[in-house]
């Protein structure tokens, strides 16, 4: 073996090993994150964390019950606002439209998807906070819902398009109208994919913080109804992490663990739903 060839083989093996190292480093970050959160958050999590209001500034103890409920309310609003638009819009794109309209809608959705969350926050602030002169849960739900629309729309459309044409034709051949075909054949055939899309969109906005700073703001007490500012887990993590109190840092870790746990579980469930197979064989 010539020395030149030996050198080339060495370079090849070395570089390929390095790519493996890159992959190992990148993936290990996830375990570092999880490890730190479990290590710092696990010791701070207690029954109080889930049931108590935040303690007055300066006192230790207390929990984040209001933030957990607040996050739930915000996400409920976001889902009610974002999912129907995304879902029905996707049906229009996949089943009814063609050509220019579809292009424009898709383009707008992709544009909206790429907008940084802070800019969504500005938009929601100008539209849903300033005119009413106060922060509210509704405004927060609106901001998060906006972010759910493009994610739901684009992936739902993909899954609807994945339904084989033979199914559409079979239903039509039996005399079903188009909307009946959509409602009773196409959507049921693609429901796993659609459910996955919605869950992923949900998980994505569950951790969003930036738009909430301007809309739902924050609240150290219970937020009554839908028209008051409300606490939320991500905003609490931010506020507690940059505050100078050790006890707040401890609670920020706990909240981080709860939030990340929730998001990872939703992600894993969503992918599990999808990998159990599309209900109909692809053509």
């Amino acid at each position: 073996m010539s020395s030149r060839l030996r050198w080339r083989k060495f370079v090849s093996n070395f570089m390929l090993t390095m790519t493996g190292v890159c992959a190992a480093i990148s993936v290990s970050v996830l375990f570092f994150i999880l490890g730190y959160l479990v290590y710092h958050g696990g010791t701070s999590i207690s029954w109080n964390f889930f049931t108590k209001l935040p303690a007055p500034v300066g006192e230790t103890g207390g929990g984040m019950a209001n933030a957990i409920v607040g996050s739930g309310k915000l996400l409920l609003l976001a889902t009610i606002f974002g999912v129907p638009i995304g879902f029905l819009g996707a049906i229009y794109l996949a089943e009814f439209s063609g050509g220019t309209t579809a292009f424009v809608v898709r383009y707008a959705a992709d544009l909206l998807n790429g907008v940084p969350s802070i800019v969504i926050g500005i938009f929601a602030y100008a539209l849903a906070v300033l005119p009413f002169k106060h922060f509210s849960t509704l405004a927060g739900g609106f901001a998060l819902g906006l972010m759910m629309i493009p994610i739901t729309l684009r992936s739902t459309e993909e899954f609807l398009r994945g339904v084989p044409n033979a199914l559409r034709e079979a239903s039509m051949a039996l005399g079903a109208s188009k909307w009946k075909t959509i409602a009773s054949v196409i959507v049921p055939a693609a429901y796993r994919g659609i459910l996955t899309a919605i869950l992923l969109a949900f998980a994505r906005v569950a951790g969003e913080t930036a738009p909430l700073l301007f809309t739902a703001f924050g609240n150290r007490f219970w937020s009554n109804g839908w028209n008051q500012p409300t606490a939320s887990l991500p905003a609490m993590i931010y506020n507690y992490a940059i505050a100078p109190y050790d006890d707040w840092h401890r609670q920020a870790w706990a909240a981080g663990l709860v939030l990340l746990g929730l998001i990872l579980v939703i992600n894993i469930v969503a992918r599990a739903i999808l990998s159990r197979g599309i209900a109909v064989p692809r053509a």
Binding site: M15, G20, V119
Partner: protein
């Protein structure tokens, strides 16, 4: 790409042959109109967003014009607003993040696409997807309590001792600053580079690799000199995508950049970014001009990410189609 070619041509001749009235009576036209309304609302919302940003930043655009981007005095008390420190901070942190994330991300993508067996590759990709789902405030939390102390006590002193003659590694080590924000951003964007690059690399036709190997190249040579150049456009696209993410990232940067509006050559210096100043000041804007200046910053961010995302999409699609067009199957 079987999914995109199976479009139904509006139910074909069946729907076309029926009159509008009969389609209306069967509900098809109603369903069409309802879904159209929802689809149109997406366009409407996007249009409104652009309109609000443009309309909301009239004052500073007229008052400061281009000087808004060139001056660095940001003083709400005297209604002077120059955005240079924020733009500088945003660009510098994004640049630092790419310097770190691009080699790591592409290296990892090459491993996943070329080397790893399919099952290992898929399960690693699963973890990468989960990593992409971690919210930015969590990265900020880890940044504040883990990365900042590490930087202050170990990495920054070490860099200063070894490379301190470079102006970018001078000055006191605070922990927070451009470098720290760049590192946290790098960790955040790596998953995007890996996922997209892996997809693009996997779309390179198999015969490209086989041809290179049959000519006697080593495995690395076939990867680096044939496969990667073939996928170059898509890989660039993934980098643009990551750049757009890094520019618009708010929470993690706000928490570790130090929030100090200066232009400094040193990466150790605390700085500020566009997204961070919006997050900190929007709800506390003292005057209309202050508020609108922040919206103009939002507009800048919007335009930057809009252009980068558009370019990225074009490049990724072009590369995947090139791969598909050469008929690997």
């Amino acid at each position: 790409m079987a999914t995109t070619t199976t479009t139904v041509p509006s139910a074909g001749p069946v729907a076309g042959s029926r009159s509008f009235l009969s389609r209306f009576r069967e509900g098809d036209e109603i369903a069409r109109m309802i879904t159209f309304l929802f689809a149109a609302s997406v366009v409407l919302v996007t249009f409104l967003l652009v309109f609000e940003l443009w309309q909301g930043s009239v004052l500073p655009r007229h008052k400061f014009g281009f000087n808004f981007f060139r001056t660095s005095v940001w003083d709400p008390n005297f209604d002077q607003f120059g955005a240079l420190p924020f733009i500088y901070g945003t660009l510098v942190t994004a640049a630092v993040s790419l310097v770190i994330a691009v080699p790591l991300g592409i290296g990892a993508a090459i491993f996943l696409a070329e080397l790893a067996p399919a099952r290992l590759s898929d399960s690693l990709e699963f973890f990468i997807d989960l990593l992409a789902a971690v919210p930015s405030v969590i990265y900020g939390l880890l940044g504040v309590f883990i990365v900042v102390p590490l930087m202050r006590d170990y990495l920054q002193p070490a860099l200063k001792n070894s490379l301190g003659f470079l102006p970018i590694f001078q000055g006191p080590a605070y922990g927070v600053g451009f470098l720290t924000a760049g590192i946290v951003l790098a960790i955040m964007v790596i998953p995007y580079i890996i996922s997209v690059s892996r997809e693009v690399l996997l779309s390179v036709p198999r015969d490209q690799r086989e041809a290179a190997l049959s000519l006697g190249s080593t495995r690395w040579e076939s990867t680096w000199k044939v496969v990667v150049p073939f996928a170059r456009g898509g890989i660039m696209g993934s980098i643009f995508l990551a750049l757009a993410r890094a520019l618009g990232e708010t929470m993690a940067v706000t928490m570790v950049i130090g929030n100090n509006p200066i232009v400094s050559a040193s990466l150790f210096s605390p700085g500020y970014s566009i997204a961070a100043v919006i997050a900190n000041e929007l709800t506390e804007a003292t005057s209309n001009l202050h508020y609108q200046s922040l919206i103009e910053l939002g507009l800048v961010l919007f335009i930057l990410t809009f252009v980068l995302n558009g370019l990225a999409r074009l490049m990724i699609v072009a590369t995947s189609q090139r791969g598909a067009g050469m008929g690997h199957a």
